[in-house]
Symmetry: none
DNA sequence: ATTTAATCGAGACGGTACGTCATGTCTTCGG
DNA sequence: CCGAAGACATGACGTACCGTCTCGATTAAAT
């Protein structure tokens, strides 16, 4: 299913099939592909619509006809690769796998780093923030499903709210990713999950 | 203790020679005060060095002599108010108070919202990121102290690492603050802390 | 014939491709008109590109797209009025009329004083100096034609080089104009021409 | 005898020997020497008071105490070398020698090229223009004396005004020097003088 | 076959901010 | 009082990116 439908100006519910020249698939693809290529060299802030237009051969006019701004383009271009939905059979295994999957994505897939820029844009552009939350919500869903599956296996303490768990799990990731005070590695994933599973106060 | 010492270009360890016209306290204060005033109306991205210069009556030349860019100014101007260090006597009380203190700070103190902008700048400016980590590290210290105090009171399960706890606690905050999918209120603080204390898997 | 073609960045010999938004005649005219207006109040050195942009409503970006600097703008704006080409029938009459025409131009037409600024810029900017020489060369042509016409009427002593005559005639003008030690009036024009015609040594 | 006394702010008629630290000869000499050194590498417009202060070790405050601006410094620094006063025994010889002397001065003595800058400053700074005219007037005197000497030898046609001759002779120089359309060489000097002596119309 | 209309490329445009530079003044300390 | 050091306000510089606009040329579905 396609992402970024709100800021992306077209994709009308009814294709309508009105008269006139149809949208060029070539231009659409070229913009996204060029954006991805540029993002494997440049950071989000170094990227510019001017540059995308120049490299892709698609005019700025056309770009702005279909995307409202740089953020919308990058949203569609850089969030194509999915984080795998883990299903290891245990809550611990799933959560660790989820985090490690996220870490690997940003570590190995250069354009995925553009998520930094998208988060930044979302801070000051309410319309884009809405879109961004939609994308983040879909990724968040992976965690919620893991927790709900765990509950069905009676691996969850009564009263635990999946939403809070998601905030804690993804929070740990965002925190280190954005602040950069410590690495995003498997050890971190395991420490986070173990701390979260057992809690921090003594019991029993 | 003073903040923002790295990107702030001067503040030499040794005042060294007393020769030369001394730095104008008026100009220094005017820049910071104007920045705070502007930030109670504008968002970080709407703020500009040009505007700060114009409103404060301090020349751009002088501003750039002492701060390397907008981020450095805002860092010094907007991070003056301290988050209170809670000491309620219990781990739960301290952590909830810490989070609520943070939430209140950004909710009631308009310029504190500029932390969004600072985090954004830190994403693409390594030098500033270092400074930003310094500031965040000092705030993070509050959490670490709470956890260490709790350990001394035997309120902490053996093997729990304070650093991981801090990542989880602040992560929950950053996550909701930056994504904005749900409110930052007392209920959230309590849910986060309770989940964290007891853990999410059943025990006993 | 149009002036200022070199530093003026566009005016391609071939309009070439018709693609793209055509150059705005409004913007072009507004820049030149505003420059002329400003030059009737300000001296060349008081003029700034910022000011031209502000008053004309043309963005600096656009100005710099078409002119390389202030000198190029003023060259095009302030050299529009032509010095009349005299043809009185005698060498003396023509030369006096030429000089008086030049004197009147700078005396009555305030923006024409900007020629001072253009000459200054030409001193340190080789590219602009080339353009400036082109413009000066076209004015110089007037004198050369006068001398050549006089030669045809046998009003010229054998061996006299028109180029040297031009250097002497215009030199007298530049000297007083730039140094300002004495006025540029008809009396001066006549004295210069009479001295030049008869020479300064006794003959016969 | 020293030049540039008007814009040069000190040199009071009465040294007065008032209280306080006396003016530093070292500072005075260092400014002029540094200016000359810089002018053998840089053009007038590339020179700055900041730079002179930095290289000479004299503070800007001190520089501005004694000179009103860059032009005044350069006036004093770069006009130290005198144009030789020729006395060959003939009018032709003197005038050619005068011009060749001027040409040689700017050709071989790099800082002498700064005269370009001084002339430019004089265009827009009336106070400096006055000073500049003083300096130019002293150089002009050389020509006037040549002409007057020639008159005493009956080498001058009756009615020829020395001032006009000076305007023509120096004008020819300034014209080529400032516009740069042709070289300043001995051939040019001779052509100018010969044309001037014999006039351009046929006689006898 | 001919309209019709939305698309496309190219690229100029106004706007706003950037960070740097030179000028001439001012403010301290020490000689 | 002078000199060195150097901070200061002013105001211009030329560049960059943004998002909008104006062209002539394409391209198909609807006539």
């Amino acid at each position: 299913m396609s992402r970024a439908e709100a800021t992306n100006r077209a994709n009308p519910a009814t294709p309508a099939t009105t008269a006139g020249r149809p949208r060029s698939k070539r231009a659409h693809a070229a913009v996204l592909e060029t954006t991805r290529e540029l993002l494997s060299t440049l950071t989000y802030d170094q990227l510019s619509v001017d540059r995308i237009a120049a490299e892709s051969g698609v005019s700025k006019r056309t770009i702005y006809r279909w995307w409202s701004n740089k953020a919308a383009i990058v949203m569609e271009a850089a969030t194509a690769t999915d984080i795998p939905a883990p299903d290891t059979g245990t809550l611990r295994g799933d959560l660790v796998a989820l985090l490690v999957g996220i870490f690997d994505n940003v570590a190995t897939h250069r354009p995925a780093q553009a998520i930094r820029g998208l988060l930044c844009e979302a801070q000051f552009d309410p319309a884009f923030a809405e879109d961004f939350r939609g994308y983040i919500g879909r990724r968040r869903q992976l965690c919620l499903e893991i927790v709900i599956r765990a509950a069905a296996r009676h691996e969850l303490r009564a009263g635990v709210q999946p939403e809070i768990v998601a905030d804690l799990v993804y929070g740990a990731y965002w925190n280190r990713f954005l602040i950069g005070h410590a690495p995003l590695d498997r050890a971190f994933a395991e420490q986070v999950v173990d701390t979260l599973l057992a809690g921090i106060e003594p019991h029993g």
